[in-house]
């Protein structure tokens, strides 16, 4: 058990010894992996099967050679991006959170900031049991909210469409991501400016002098993150 645990635990849990709690947590993690794998495989089968099922209902199955060509064009970029996301986000989100986040998607624009915010609110540290639980709760909740909002929205799609697609509101919804990252920038840069200034300067200059990279911003997260982590490590070593 990490020392980050609640000093005033639940009455029910207080009767358990540390060893029993550890055993419970290990059992929880084992079943998380088992369920995570099972559900991921089932969702994969459904998602890959749906186009064939829909195609058969339409009387036209997918053109596999065209799909293969298109994959070589755009899919490889996303394959590399997915590898980077996997390596970066699993330590952030924990195992349960990662299974859910990769099943439900929208990682950059929702799940990761949402889990990080929840983690900050409760003061959980990465790699702890508390972070594992908080992250899973956060991602499950945000996924359910998205599912409900989308389901309600789809039901109301026809009457809502004129309002939501009104040109007056378009700039607001086109700017969801800048609005999010502006807010997160203040939250994370504050108190970490000696680290933040360098990736911000380097990435800005890179995008200014090689504007072609702007369309590959999701790939550029890798060098941006590497600079920040490198600096953080340097300060960490220096401060020890």
């Amino acid at each position: 058990m990490d020392k980050n645990m609640n000093p005033n635990p639940n009455p029910e849990s207080s009767v358990l010894s540390d060893e029993e709690k550890q055993a419970l947590y290990e059992k929880y993690m084992r079943s998380t992996h088992a369920l995570g794998r099972l559900f991921s495989i089932l969702v994969l089968i459904m998602l890959l099967g749906a186009p064939f099922l829909m195609g058969s209902l339409l009387g036209a199955l997918p053109d596999l050679s065209a799909a293969g060509k298109a994959f070589l064009g755009v899919g490889l970029v996303y394959l590399i991006s997915c590898i980077a996301e996997y390596l970066i986000y699993v330590p952030m989100l924990g195992a349960g959170g990662s299974y859910l986040a990769f099943i439900t998607g929208n990682l950059i624009n929702m799940k990761v900031p949402c889990a990080m915010t929840a983690k900050d609110i409760v003061g959980a540290k990465s790699g702890t049991t508390e972070n594992e639980i908080i992250s899973t709760l956060s991602i499950a909740t945000s996924s359910l909210v998205t599912i409900v909002v989308l389901a309600v929205g789809v039901m109301l799609l026809i009457p809502l469409q004129p309002l939501l697609q009104s040109p007056a509101l378009q700039p607001a919804f086109d700017c969801v991501v800048p609005a999010l990252f502006g807010a997160m920038a203040y939250k994370y840069f504050r108190g970490n400016m000696k680290i933040a200034v360098w990736p911000l300067a380097v990435m800005s200059l890179l995008f200014i002098f090689v504007p072609g990279l702007i369309s590959s911003v999701s790939m550029m997260i890798i060098p941006g993150g590497a600079i920040a982590i490198g600096l953080a490590y340097w300060y960490f070593k220096k401060g020890r």
């Binding site: 794998r37 359910l144 002098f209 504007p211 702007i214």
Partner: protein, 259 residues
């Protein structure tokens, strides 16, 4: 009956809605298990409830944005498929791009309702699924081993105690990674304005809107943090990100008219 009408038929809603319902059940199972496990190992129930409330409030605004993505794609792919894609596994900024490339690969001029055929749709749908499934695949194959490796106790170094070495650095590394991620996006907004316009490098003719919206979002967050610290009101944290986004998005409507 046109392809689009067939794509919006009840059976398609049933297929996509069924998969979404299954994923919703998965989320409920994971949430309940995590809550019970947290309680059993002695976590503060208040903290877990705060997490649920904060995450729910946080998710509302981005979800509305995602809903707009469904609406945007529904004109060419029907409503059920974009509804599925953006509820499960997909990402708002990704779907349109892949759908467009897939449409071109099957001979269409781009993603549009007018040229859509049954085979074009099923090919586009397959590619959309295939391109972004890898995170899930890697999780299935190696999340257990990767997590084990991350949580494995590192050998103690001379002069170090508990919490020394890379494990102690882990939390700072995650914060740093997020700083790098945010810096990259903010840098792209600066680059878009300075060199992303028709005039090219250093022409200052690109769109200033994303950068201004990000600045408004940052200022709004500064106010939320100030209020939280001034009044020692921790609850403000639950609404600070969503509130800042809402303020910045509202500002975008007005800024869009000026810029």
């Amino acid at each position: 009956m046109s392809v689009l009408s067939r794509l919006n038929s009840p059976v398609f809603y049933l297929i996509c809605g069924g998969i979404i319902a299954f994923v919703a059940v998965i989320c409920v199972i994971f949430a309940v298990r995590a809550y019970r496990a947290g309680k059993a190992i002695g976590m503060d129930v208040t903290k877990m409830k705060r997490t649920i409330i904060a995450s729910a409030t946080f998710a509302v605004l981005p979800s509305v944005g995602i809903l707009l993505g469904v609406i945007a794609l529904s004109g060419s792919l029907g409503t059920p498929w974009p509804w599925l894609r953006l509820s499960v596994i997909g990402a708002l900024h990704y779907e349109t791009q892949v759908a467009d490339v897939a449409a071109r690969s099957v001979g269409l001029e781009g993603l549009s309702a007018s040229g859509m055929t049954a085979q074009a749709f099923s090919t586009i749908a397959l590619l959309m699924s295939f391109c972004i499934m890898w995170g899930m695949v890697f999780c299935t194959i190696s999340c257990k081993a990767y997590s084990k490796k991350l949580n494995a106790p590192k050998p103690k170094k001379e002069g170090g105690g508990k919490g020394s070495g890379l494990m102690a650095f882990g939390d700072q590394a995650m914060t740093a990674m997020f700083i790098g991620l945010v810096s990259t996006y903010i840098g792209s907004y600066i680059g878009s304005f300075v060199s992303g316009g028709e005039g090219g490098v250093l022409s200052f003719t690109g769109s200033l809107l994303p950068l201004c919206v990000a600045v408004v979002g940052a200022l709004a967050m500064a106010v939320f943090i100030f209020l939280k610290e001034r009044h020692k009101a921790e609850w403000i944290d639950s609404f600070s990100v969503a509130g800042s986004m809402l303020i910045a998005m509202t500002a975008a409507i007005f800024l869009g008219k000026i810029l």
